[in-house]
Symmetry: D2
Subunit: 328 residues, 4 copies
């Protein structure tokens, strides 16, 4: 693919997005009925190889806690998860539950945005000029009844494969391990990080790439502040061809919004999303906690592992909370 020359005019995001979209589009690549985009790139053989990467058996959850102490502050009605009890141990102990032979129970419910914490963005999450993944009209895909075509349920069995950590935080800021807010990670940064980390971080077809910026480590230390939507390090708009050329299956970051914020264009909002979700068909993870994984990878100098990051099988969802498991 020779997709490196795309026009970028920082004052004209719309033209740049259109140009980039044409350059990297995967529309039609997996047939007109496709519902999973680049997740097609993980095949059984890739999963078999990924399983063989397991060395120590160390299992790490890459999920943040889901509770009221999360980063959400109400933007677009996104709250932190509200978890309440239907039955409690206190009631059981006091003998209030009316069950026989001394059995008691506790039960619970949750109300939450599907993108309130560690999550996958589904392919129905972002549109470009009213068009969704694979060239469909957005209104034919996601109505108030949910995503009728590319709902996250289609990805339910698919997101297990080779995970690779690119620890840009440590690579670019060895002293702190954290990139500054507003830092735009470029294709050259990605390549240099891979070179520095060594061959276990080479990226190939069907890989699930985890990009650590270190911003989450800072938020855990200093408080959420503007983590949900404010300034953040993240991928530059210019990485779209890099993502396309390597044919990765999915990507996730330790930030709220995957791409650098403020966005690189003037008066813009998440332009890289606008390219990679509807045009590339790329599944994006956000708010993943990569810190323990990064410590482990740094200690072993191995950056590849079996990653199982199964979304909940919610019919018609445009995103899903997830508890990604790295098996090292």
């Amino acid at each position: 693919m020779g997709v490196t020359s795309v026009s970028l005019d920082l004052k004209d995001p719309e033209a740049s997005i259109a140009s980039m979209a044409r350059a990297v589009s995967n529309w039609g690549r997996w047939g007109e009925d496709d519902a999973v985009g680049t997740l097609n790139l993980i095949d059984d053989e890739a999963r078999t190889r990924a399983a063989r990467l397991v060395r120590t058996g160390e299992s790490l959850s890459l999920s943040l806690p889901f509770d009221m102490n999360g980063p959400q502050r109400g933007w677009r009605r996104r709250t932190n998860p509200v978890h309440t009890m239907l039955d409690t141990g206190t009631d059981a102990e006091r003998g209030l539950q009316g069950f026989p032979h001394g059995i008691g129970g506790a039960d619970d419910v949750i109300a939450m945005p599907l993108q309130c914490s560690t999550q996958w963005d589904g392919l129905g999450h972002i549109f470009d000029h009213g068009m969704a993944w694979n060239g469909r009209r957005a209104g034919d895909v996601v109505t108030s009844e949910g995503d009728l075509v590319t709902g996250i349920e289609h990805a339910a069995p698919l997101i297990t494969g080779r995970g690779v950590l690119l620890d840009l935080g440590r690579h670019l800021s060895p002293a702190t391990g954290e990139l500054d807010d507003g830092y735009a990670i470029t294709p050259d940064d990605l390549d240099a990080c891979i070179a520095a980390q060594g061959p276990t971080s080479e990226i190939g077809t069907g890989d699930i790439v985890l990009v650590r910026t270190g911003q989450l480590a800072r938020a855990k230390r200093e408080g959420w502040g503007e983590y949900a939507g404010g300034p953040a390090p993240g991928l530059s708009f210019t990485t779209a061809p890099w993502l396309r050329a390597r044919d990765i299956a999915a990507i996730a970051t330790d930030t709220w919004g995957f791409e650098v914020r403020p966005n690189e264009f003037e008066n813009a909002f998440q332009p890289l999303h606008q390219v990679v979700i509807p045009h590339l068909g790329l599944t994006i993870g956000e708010m993943w906690d990569l810190d323990a994984l990064a410590d482990s990878c740094a200690a072993s100098s191995r950056y590849e592992f079996l990653l199982t990051a199964a979304p909940l099988r919610i019919t018609g969802a445009v995103g899903s909370p997830v508890n990604p498991i790295a098996l090292l």
Copy 2:
């Protein structure tokens, strides 16, 4: 362990439960602060061996869909999941969202009981006479603020290991593959099934055992009916010593309630739960869809695989929805 002689009086569940609890108790086994029970039995070495079981790379989701077509009928305020949209493609296509440069988005929320569909029961889910796992008072563990001690978040990284399918449905009912409602699976049934299936279904320390009854296949064909709480095949109360002796890490079934229903005692409610959750410290999965897995295992005559069944990391939850992934 010689825990096979426990007194059973079908008219006296309370005494039988007490006797069985004493016989199989794991209280104190992993220290007084333990929060995960038999999940301790999966260690890094076990996970490494489990990863080596992968042969074909076939990945199967063992989850039911999460939507309004689920089995819940309101018992104890358990509803099916209510999934609603915060933003839609219809709105985006019509230009109603107010974002710049043609980007549009869809977002969603969910309200659901944590045990409405494919799930794990956490250790705070069931109590015996006001006592919770490891000998704690239930009211010290699960208040209206959630499970303060044994919340499902402690299990977040742990539930990945060797899965073994015991297809009791096919074994006992070869013609239909489905056990009758009310059929109580005995220890002898389990042993005979293992023997018939062959060495890949031998059960050992730290395994995650999946028991298929076939009831879910029937429900998918005929409608939910009384699936949520009504008559069902399931484990006999007498299997508790078998589960304890094999030191399994976790177990899951394709039924609403894991154990046979109606329960074997008169005037009883889930007596096996009352033994194995608070006394054995066993994590139980329910409403798992094992049908595709069973087809695959039957075809290959291999019943073991890498299972990753990561609960959402919901702080203080006594259960969690899960999308279990079997990697064969």
Copy 3:
């Protein structure tokens, strides 16, 4: 108004609805910015007169209970209300809450469809061929962010005035007080009921009319069954001109859906709604419990009272739960 001659073709609901809509339309009557329709017809003078109707000071709630025992069965994701506790007395009594000087508390949350039980339909609830009240395009009015124009909050202070009970159940079925399911109440039935009940049930401008069919009494006795959407007595499609001619402000019934079900046309769904909400601008109440009120009115032979039925002031809602208070 001479709006009585409208064409009705039971095989052609679409043409009949169009004809009826033209005959009764209030579009433009209260200006192009109007957000409340016929609620404009209750003025301060009408409210003053309504307050003077109070004789005995008897106060009756016309609301059903809001709980899991309600009529909803999941149609279009409508559930019964799920009420859960954030804090409990059990926890407080056990000393688990961490407050000083012995204070304890209980708190709660609810998740519910706004039309799950006793309710008002707002003007954004129903559209006719993509058009909303007062001639607006439906997509300009109700997006996934709610009703941006005619949200129920506009009605917050308005729905207090003269209430009149028309007890069609008692009038037409004196033996049981209950109309049969499928019975269509005609304009003549309404007039005859008024004549029989006497001058306190004369209907005039700005009145809030409560039509009791008795179906709810039957459901309370026999169980909900198909109450939510099944066969029911209710207003005939032909009552639209009657409702328009009397210039009532609002109307409510003791049924799920206000109009007779099955609907009078073949292959139809709520055709009277399609006329009276978007074209007449009429606010409709459903699932009101009129039984105690009917007893009281029958005993006193007075059918008028002060009615205060204030919707919750939920920004952008297309309906609201309500606890209507009749002060007799």
Copy 4:
């Protein structure tokens, strides 16, 4: 009643609360089964007189909007209301809903704490040393299934009667109409306000007293800030005997927490609540918007009106959102 001499030790809230509780207790006054406390003091005769107060027919909603722009910030899992759509006008206009003859619809759901905005506190909301209203053990009253004894549903028909506005903001701060945060309203302040406002604000048995501090006007102007739980003007702990002596039925304020904050005792939390809810049996309203009412009362020099403030009839709720209607 001579209940004015109660001991107050600002360093010992516990003793002061106990002393005050004894002085003002209503336990047993309405029988041992009572579920509504001082709401008993509004009888039919009082409601009849209240209806006669109506002069102009002006109807005012005293409710704040219920939406994501509300004051909640997550304390004890209290969020602002999350209102989402099940169906939209955009979908209807685009022809996505599948209904016949051109009908379309919009529907919605809400998830909210019952005390997130304009509200009533029910009698099960606050306990004193594990005891609830009328001398019951808190754990016998409010379990995780809700308030089994004094749920808000018992108050459903009762809260309509004579409302009286005491505009302490205007009375004590004529220049701004707003009391400072931290200002404790004393019994003398209440009496002086009544004297200044004149005979229409005399308080008697069964009245519903609305105390305006002006804090909400400030919050509407300057932003919520710490409105939910931070410093605020409010009633002094010493007003409990005043409230008891006048036998009011209910009271509401324009603040988050009714009583002055910070509380007057050291290391205290809502001590007046601890007296007046469980001991007096007083129903308390919070976050009422009294500003338009205050303007109207000031203009007419009449401070009494018919108030209808019907809680939703939610079974077992310890509080309820409410849209209070003042009819002047």
